[in-house]
Symmetry: C2
Subunit: 230 residues, 2 copies
């Protein structure tokens, strides 16, 4: 593996630990053998992006902050942009608009990458382990239902509590058990595939009773594929 | 814990996995509970920084690349700069010079942070688990010897092979055993403290036969202390 990569920019901080997890997985996924054979990685982990769930109930839009981050990363040299946050993809258009005048730059969509994996599995009924902002925006509902796939949602209050726990640094056994129970309930309802549709989920759920599509992993692969030259 | 932090800029990529480890530890060290309570973190993980060991034998200097990264991070808003690479601290002056005209920005020195921990332990004879560039530049020798502490060096060839293995993604049991043997040999030679003086070391050595000062951990703490407001 040579050092032929386009520079990667990560629109991060949603949450911060999920961004660190994404960076780690990108590095491990490169298959490089020396420092100089890795891609350049630029991260902007920004705590000032307005809350995605609150935005769907009258709060400030994350769009302008995400657009500013995208522009800043591209100004620093990034050509492939990725955002390890499912819910924030409800504002993906703001990012795409922000980089529209930079033909060398492209945005790799996490939801598209995850949905492609679900379709490849031949799923019929999918449990989407995502937060309210992801579910209410229909980020997964629309493409899955368009493919004739039924969508099941997690119990929202319990799921949201798990995600907040991870953001507060409690990716512990209690939180893991709670997330496993939520995943188990969806499988019991007939889900034949689950999607870890929140970047905090893979930090506390690595096994499930049915095949689990890790949207973060799908984004890692899609990002590296887009960044690799030749 | 509130969101009162100065933005942190990480001069990274030396190596890439060590930078990801540093970012992860910074996030976990914040003690924050919500996305908005974390500091802004900017990372430039750059594969184009000239090799630190080669630079000491006539190769290109890393100084200009490090200076450019520092300026870029400060331009993006970083006020506290940290560099998770011991050997690159041989060119710390290039970074300090690059940000000299930005009074709000400061560079947190990893070696200073690690040496302070060693001195607090009352060490008499210290094994420095660092690469040739770190040892030959006297980065740890000078401050430790000035404090009357004897410095022991690892077996260089075996140590260098371990570090290259980590950079190639092989932070596995074989590499861990090799590093444990190197640490054990230094303790057998009378070292009463060891320093993980290469940011790859803590990825493969978490226990040692004598107290182990993790320079990366010292930098995490010093960086967060410098970034915290009030």
């Amino acid at each position: 593996m040579t050092g032929n990569w386009r520079p990667i920019g990560v629109i991060g901080g949603m949450g911060p630990l999920a961004s660190a997890d994404f960076i780690t997985r990108l590095v491990l996924g490169c298959g490089a053998t020396r420092d100089c054979d890795y891609p350049r990685l630029l991260l902007d982990s920004n705590p000032h992006v307005p809350d995605r769930n609150a935005a769907r109930h009258g709060g400030a839009s994350p769009g302008p902050a995400l657009a500013a981050m995208a522009r800043g990363l591209v100004a620093q040299g990034a050509q492939v942009l990725a955002m390890p946050c499912n819910a924030a993809h409800g504002w993906a258009d703001a990012i795409i608009g922000a980089i529209a005048e930079t033909p060398a730059a492209r945005f790799v969509n996490l939801v598209d990458a995850a949905v492609a994996r679900v379709l490849a599995l031949g799923a019929r009924r999918v449990g989407v382990l995502g937060v309210a902002a992801t579910l209410d925006a229909g980020l997964y509902h629309r493409p899955l239902q368009a493919a004739g796939i039924e969508v099941l949602e997690p119990e929202r209050e319990a799921f949201g509590a798990c995600i907040e726990a991870v953001k507060a640094g409690r990716h512990d056994d209690t939180t893991r058990a709670a997330m496993a129970a939520i995943a188990g309930a969806l499988a019991a309802q007939g889900a034949d595939v689950l999607i870890a549709a929140c970047t905090e989920v893979p930090l506390i759920l690595t096994q499930a009773p049915v095949p689990l599509v890790d949207a973060t992993d799908a984004l890692v692969n899609a990002t590296l594929a887009a960044a690799r030259i030749g």
